[in-house]
């Protein structure tokens, strides 16, 4: 397979066959980060049960790296506990993809923040429910 410029095979693989693409109906948490004006936006929806991320889906407006990092982050986080999910950093994502060109590292950062935003949202909603 021809390599697209600077992307690793794993990035291309996730770009062509993204995992967990879509939106969860009635999610327990929604993380929306980025801005289409900047060229990068990610939406992550999660379903949480017994402190586990039971299900997670992503939607992304962005470049190949943005799509690959959001796909990878859902793969890394699915089935993990909330605490484990919060430990996933942009470095973890980039490494799992076999590395990213320096100029694309901000995409992995966005993916990390999208997950954190979804979990934040989940906790806020639960906090309100507990009140």
């Amino acid at each position: 397979m021809e390599q697209f410029g600077w992307y690793s095979e794993k990035v291309i693989e996730h770009f062509q066959h993204p995992r967990n693409m879509g939106e969860i109906e009635n999610p327990d948490g929604v993380g929306l980060v980025g801005n289409p004006i900047c060229g990068d936006m990610m939406k992550i929806t999660i379903k949480v049960k017994d402190n586990l991320i039971e299900d997670i889906k992503f939607k992304t407006f962005g470049c190949g790296a943005a799509i690959a990092t959001s796909s990878m982050v859902t793969e890394l986080v699915k089935g993990k506990t909330i605490e484990e999910a919060l430990k996933v950093t942009n470095k973890t994502v980039a490494e799992a993809l076999g590395g990213l060109p320096p100029i694309k590292m901000h995409c992995s950062l966005l993916a990390e923040e999208a997950v954190k935003a979804a979990i934040d949202d989940y906790r806020q909603r639960r906090g309100k429910a507990d009140e």
């Binding site: 697209f4 693409m21 929306l32 004006i37 900047c38 060229g39 939607k59 962005g62």
Partner: protein, 400 residues
Amino acid sequence: MKAIYMDHNATTPLDERVLEAMMPYLKEEFGNASSVHSLGIRARAAIEEARGKVAQALGCSPKEVVFTGCGTESDNLAIKGVAYANRDKGDHIITSRIEHHAVLHACQYLEKQGFRVTYLPVDGYGQVDPDDVRKAITDKTILITIMHANNEVGTVQPIAEIGKIAKERGVYFHTDAIQTVGKLPTKVDELGVDLLSLSAHKLYGPKGVGALYIRNGVKLHPLLHGGPHEWNRRAGTENVAGIVGLGKAIELAMEGLEEEAQYLTALRERLYEGLRSSIDHIRLNGHPTQRLPGTLSLCFEYIEGESIIMGLDLKGVAVSSGSACTSASLEPSHVLLAMGVPPAIAQGSVRFSLGRDNTEEQVDYVIEELPPIVARLREISMFSPEVPFSAMAGPRPRSH
């Protein structure tokens, strides 16, 4: 795997005949054109023959053609050269907001040196209004620089009209014709210009060589000081092989100009019609008719440009985009923004620039392969006609 190249505005493949013309000067005819022995004299003759071909293409005298290392250098020489040489007359330069960075950044540099620059706006098609030029001229204006056609969207500017205005007011007029020489007629008297930049690798010639037309009488400082090359306008041992290549390339381009323009226009329209009929929510960027024959710039709504390029590249098709992700600066196309394209939509731009090696078969292949790529990316995107860009704007992450 197919290899379909549709990025001719970025660069063009070297024509076989150009390579053939260059070969001797890369091998046994390696003389320095300034040497007074036979080897040098033959190199000199080759350069002057090439110069004659460029002069013929532009409709000027050979003495008005200066060879440079690239189009960017030609632009820099024209702008900085004229600015510094005419500082006693004035310090004001007029240009447009959609120029290539070679012009824009040279102007911005001059601003730091104390010059004043007016960056004229463009309309939705990317065209400068000659009236705006007229209104912007002051008695301190020493240079107007407006590109002949834009590299990103292909829109052709009203150069002849602006040329008349410049002449009336006695202001030097430069045009960056890097995208038009070899594609459209570029006779300097018809265009009414005093300076004109061109670059070999945009017309099936080699990289590393360009030229600047400088009308007889124009005062300009050189950028490169050293030997007396190019009548003391551009020091440096000449790139003989490159110059010979440029000469051959421009000669070939002039021979086939009309025919090729017709061919590429038809091919471009075929591509546009084909894509338009199978993909919705796409916008054409640039003037529908006053455009470079082979250039087709489109915005695909709800998705991002680099991902489209990647999808096409994986199918063997090479194109480019004006999205932030494809520029080293992470800024979206200044050209599209100046034309009033909303930033989020500008991020979804793709430029097809066809050339003489493209065929109907290749165009039909793209028409077939692009729709599923776009459809897939639209599935992945959170935006759609039902959820437009305005509906969602998340918080900016700390990295931005």
